[in-house]
Symmetry: C2
DNA sequence: TTGTACGCGTTATCAG
DNA sequence: CTGATAACGCGTACAA
C-alpha cells in the first residue's frame, strides 16, 4: 500500500543537493545558464527519485496547457477516427496532449464541450461541426480569449476563420463527370443536410457537372438525407429505385449510403455497373469490401488532421494572424473501381484497404 | 483584438460583491453553508462576467484532475474507435475529460505515453495493450501512486489487475463449434500473436472445440499472423488455400483477416460457404458488406468502454480494492451469416450495420 | 552561474 | 453562515 508516497518536487531535489528550487527548475528545463555539472546532478537525482513535473503547477504559472481540444460528432466513424489519429500523432510529436470530445451531432453538446474545453485552458481547439449546427456564436468565447480554433471538414460558412478542407465542389464535379463519361444520363445526387456547406458544395458540384454536359437537371433526382447512415441509405435508395423511371447513375455524398444503395440495387436485381453506376465519397475501407467495389472520392482524413495541428501550431507561434482567417485545401482524387466501369473499361483498382484488427 | 482580456477570477467577483473569495468559491460549488441570496448573487455575476473556473488552480489544490487517460494501439480501427466512443461518453457524463494517446502498437510509445499521462495527473488510466508489449513494469509508477488502471481487451496475463474483457476462450469455442455443426472437418485457426492472451485464449478455445468433437488437430492449420491486417490476411489465406489439401472451415481472430480470406477464396474460385466456411471475430461493420456476409463473434466495444469507466469510477470511490484485482467479463454471441451456412440452413441475419458517414 | 521572493487561482482549515 | 490565511508546485523577474 504505497498509495501515500508523496510526489517528488523540485524542492525535494533542491534540498538534497543543497541548491535552490529555481536552479532545479532551470536545470530540468535545460536553461542555458546552468552549469553542466549541476544540470547533470539534478537530472540524475530526478531520474533516481522518479521525479515527474506537476503539469498543473506549470500550467497555472505559464497559462499554457500544451493541450489540444478536439470536438467531433462521433469518434467511431472511419473518417473521423482517422482524422483524430492524424491529430493525435502530430500533436504528440509537437509535445501536446489531445483531449477529445464528441457531440453526437447535437449542437447542445457542442456548446457544453466548448465550455469544458475552455475551462481546461486548451492551447487550441480543432472542430468538425455537429450536423445540427447552424449558429456558431458558442465559439466566440474561445476566439475572444485568443485561443486558436481550426475547423476541419464540417466547417462554418463564415469568413475570417481558419480551416482545413477539401474542395468539395470540384470533387463532386469530378465524381459526377466521371459518371457522365461512363455513359450515365440520369444521375441521382444523394446528399446530406444542405445547411452543412460540405454537402451543399457537393450538390453544387454535381449540378455544375450536369450543366457542363448539357444534361437535364431533374429535381426528383436530388435527394437529401439527414444522417446518411446505412439504414437511411437503404431506405432512400429503395424508394428511388422503385420508381417507374430510375436513374442510371448515383453520386453519393458518403460511402455508407453508397454501399447501402449497392446492396439495395442488388437485392432488386439491378445490375451494377451495367444498369446503374454508383460512386461514393470518402474512400472508406468498405469500398474495397463491397461487391462490386465502390468507386469513391478519396478524402485524406489523416492528412487533414495533421494539417489542422500544423495550422494550430502556426497560430500559437503567431505565424498566422488569428483574426484574418486562412484556408488549407487538400487534394482529393477519385478512385475508380468496378461500380462505375462501363463494359469497355478495364478494371483498375485492386488495392486491399488497410483496416481493422482486434 | 480582445486577446488580452484577462480571465475573471473569484477575486474579481468577491471584490465587486464585497465578500471574500472563499465565499465566492463556496457559492460557486454549491456549498451547503452559503446563504441562498449570496449564492444567487455570486452566480449571477459569474454568469454575467463570463467567469470560468481555472481547472489548473483547482487541480493543483485538490490534486484531482477529473481526467481519464486512454492508451490504445490505433484510434482508427473499428473496435478501438467504438471502445473510445463508449469511454468518452460515459466519462463525460460523470464529469471527466478524456485524454487520448495511441501507441501504434509499439511498447516504446506505450512507455512514454504512460509517463506523459502520469505528468498530467490523470484520475485513472484505461489501457488496451500494444501488440508488442510483453512486459508490464512501465505501469508500476501509475499503480504505485494509487491511480486506478483498468485494462481492456488486450490485457496483461498478470494477476491482481483490474480488467474488462470478454471470454475469448468460450467465444472461440463457440465459433469453432458452430463451424463443426455446419459440417466442417478440417478447420483452420487464423490467429494473432500468441503472447497476447486474447489471441492465445482464442486459440485454446479453438483447440478445445476440436477436441470435444474428436476432430484431428492439424498443426499446419494453426496459423499466427502478426498484424492481422488486410494485406497479411490475404497473403496467409492465399498460402493456405494453395495447398494440396485445403481446410473446409476457417476461424479468424478478427474480421479484417476473415474478409481478406473470403476475397482470396473467391478469387481462387473456392465457393463460400459451400466449399469453405469462414467465421470472423469482432462483428465489425464490414461483416454485412462483404459477400457473402461474414459470420462473426459479436464484440461489445462500446459497452466495454462504459464498463471500464464505471470500474475506474468505482475504484476512485474506493468501492473496489485497488490492490485486489477484479474482472468484468462481458457476454459475446456469434452472429450467424451466410459465410458459414450449410445448404440446408436458412439465412438469418439481414441487419444493416450502422456506420460511417462523412 | 545561482539564489530570493513572489504570484498564478483555487480550496481547505481554522477562527469568528 | 462568512472571512482570513495558508498551501498546492512551479517559473521567473530581480538581485547577487
Amino acid at each position: 500500500m504505497e498509495e501515500n508516497k508523496k510526489d517528488v518536487t523540485i524542492y525535494d531535489i533542491a534540498e538534497e543537493l543543497n541548491i535552490s528550487p529555481s536552479t532545479v527548475s532551470r536545470a530540468l528545463n535545460d536553461h542555458s545558464s546552468i552549469g553542466s555539472k549541476t544540470k547533470k546532478a539534478v537530472k540524475k537525482l530526478a531520474e533516481k527519485w522518479g521525479y515527474r513535473p506537476n503539469s498543473f503547477a506549470a500550467s497555472l504559472r505559464t497559462k499554457r496547457s500544451n493541450t489540444f481540444g478536439i470536438i467531433v460528432s462521433w469518434i467511431n466513424r472511419p473518417f473521423i477516427s482517422s482524422l483524430i489519429s492524424g491529430i493525435e500523432n502530430t500533436a504528440r510529436e509537437a509535445g501536446f496532449h489531445t483531449i477529445i470530445t464528441q457531440t453526437q451531432d447535437y449542437t447542445e453538446s457542442e456548446i457544453t464541450n466548448v465550455k469544458t474545453l475552455y475551462d481546461n485552458r486548451i492551447s487550441a481547439l480543432i472542430v468538425s461541426l455537429a450536423m445540427e449546427t447552424t449558429d456558431y456564436s458558442h465559439f466566440d468565447s474561445i476566439r475572444n480569449s485568443g485561443i486558436p480554433i481550426v475547423f476541419v471538414d464540417r466547417i462554418p460558412p463564415t469568413l475570417g476563420i481558419h480551416k482545413v478542407q477539401i474542395n468539395n465542389f470540384s470533387a463532386a464535379f469530378e465524381a459526377t463527370e466521371h459518371l457522365i463519361e461512363q455513359g450515365c444520363k440520369r444521375i441521382m445526387y444523394f446528399g446530406g443536410a444542405r445547411h452543412q456547406s460540405i454537402y451543399e458544395d457537393r450538390r453544387l458540384g454535381y449540378v455544375a457537372a450536369l450543366k457542363k454536359h448539357d444534361l437535364e437537371l431533374d429535381k426528383s433526382l436530388m435527394v437529401q438525407g439527414n444522417t446518411l447512415d446505412a439504414e437511411e441509405g437503404y431506405r432512400i435508395a429503395s424508394e428511388v429505385l422503385s420508381r417507374d423511371s430510375i436513374p442510371d447513375g448515383i453520386f453519393c455524398a458518403n460511402d455508407t449510403a453508397a454501399v447501402s444503395a449497392i446492396q439495395c440495387a442488388k437485392s432488386m436485381g439491378i445490375l451494377i455497373p451495367d444498369q446503374l453506376k454508383i460512386i461514393g465519397f470518402n474512400d472508406d475501407p468498405i469500398c474495397t469490401i463491397i461487391d462490386p467495389p465502390l468507386s469513391s472520392v478519396h478524402h485524406p482524413a489523416v492528412e487533414m488532421g495533421e494539417a489542422a495541428v500544423r495550422k494550430a501550431l502556426a497560430m500559437l507561434e503567431n505565424e498566422i494572424d488569428p483574426e484574418a482567417g486562412s484556408t488549407v485545401t487538400l487534394d482529393t482524387h477519385i478512385v475508380v473501381r468496378k461500380s462505375t466501369q462501363s463494359e469497355k473499361t478495364l478494371e483498375s483498382d485492386v488495392s486491399i484497404a488497410d483496416q481493422s484488427m482486434g
